[in-house]
């Protein structure tokens, strides 16, 4: 399974240009990088942006210093490529309106006195890995991610999937910190509500 924790011997192999290690890197992160590029440049251009990012990453790996996780480093390259592509096409960032609208999905789970009316159920999973081992739930989550507004998706991908620091995420996406917090909260709450519902009913 992929993780944000990089293994030292794997890193050494990557820096030495080991092609098998590079293939493992692609296998581990390619889909997450596509998911990052999609809300920014759109479905049709995401694959090309990520492909160019892999070519640049391959050339730059020997200089990778390990100051951030590889996944975060790769996501920076993808974002830079995505922005360059948008500039070449004279397009704006593909994100929907960054303003936050309607209340989040958890608000109707509280009574007027502020206590839970529908508290979270007890989830069966006891680790991140075990949460995703149930294929139906993984499919439900993938479908939800696809359905999120692009601004929420981009924030969730950069912050929670790629581990980029919050300030840098705001900078990269050109969004204020207060808006980013609201949007990220909305995305996370929808994921939480989905898993909670799945744990209770076995359905999305």
């Amino acid at each position: 399974m992929t993780s944000l924790h990089d293994n030292a011997s794997e890193l050494a192999q990557l820096r030495n240009g080991d092609e098998a290690a590079f293939a493992r890197l692609v296998r581990a992160h390619h889909r997450a990088l596509l998911a990052l590029a999609r809300p920014i440049v759109g479905e049709s251009e995401a694959a090309e942006v990520v492909q160019i990012a892999w070519i640049k990453a391959h050339a730059a790996l020997k200089d990778f210093e390990g100051r951030s996780a590889l996944r975060t480093w790769l996501s920076r390259i993808v974002i830079n490529e995505a922005r360059m592509m948008l500039r070449q096409r004279k397009r704006e960032v593909f994100l929907e309106d960054m303003q936050a609208e309607a209340p989040g999905p958890l608000v109707d789970r509280f009574r007027s006195d502020g206590h839970w009316s529908v508290p979270p159920v007890n989830w069966h999973a006891d680790s991140p890995d075990s949460l995703l081992t149930r294929e139906e739930l993984a499919d439900c989550l993938a479908a939800l991610l696809d359905s999120l507004p692009s601004n929420q998706r981009a924030l969730l991908e950069l912050r929670d999937s790629d581990g980029m620091p919050f300030d840098e995420v705001c900078n990269m996406l050109g969004v204020s910190a207060s808006n980013a917090r609201v949007l990220l909260h909305r995305a996370r709450s929808r994921l939480f509500a989905l898993v909670d519902h799945f744990e209770e009913t076995g359905e999305c």
Partner: protein
């Protein structure tokens, strides 16, 4: 006093490392009293830990395609 309704946002700020000492103490006090909110925080932590892995691994075809373009590019 912190209400359960405030906990989702406070829990995220805690996990993001953005909670001041005062707000951290208020949250800890609430969690000490409230099992539902303890469960919420624990499960939110689990969920956010799973997000980096949510997209799964690329297929052989996807990996081969990336490597082929890389190879074409360098020759």
């Amino acid at each position: 006093m912190l209400k359960c309704r405030d906990v989702p946002a406070e829990a995220e700020a805690l996990l993001d490392g953005e909670l001041s000492l005062g707000r951290r103490v208020a949250l800890r006090f609430h969690l000490f009293m409230c099992g539902n909110c303890r469960r919420y925080l624990g499960q939110l932590r689990l969920l956010l830990g799973a997000v980096p892995q949510m997209h799964g691994q690329a297929s052989d075809e996807e990996v081969d395609q990336v490597l082929k373009r890389l190879h074409d590019h360098s020759h």
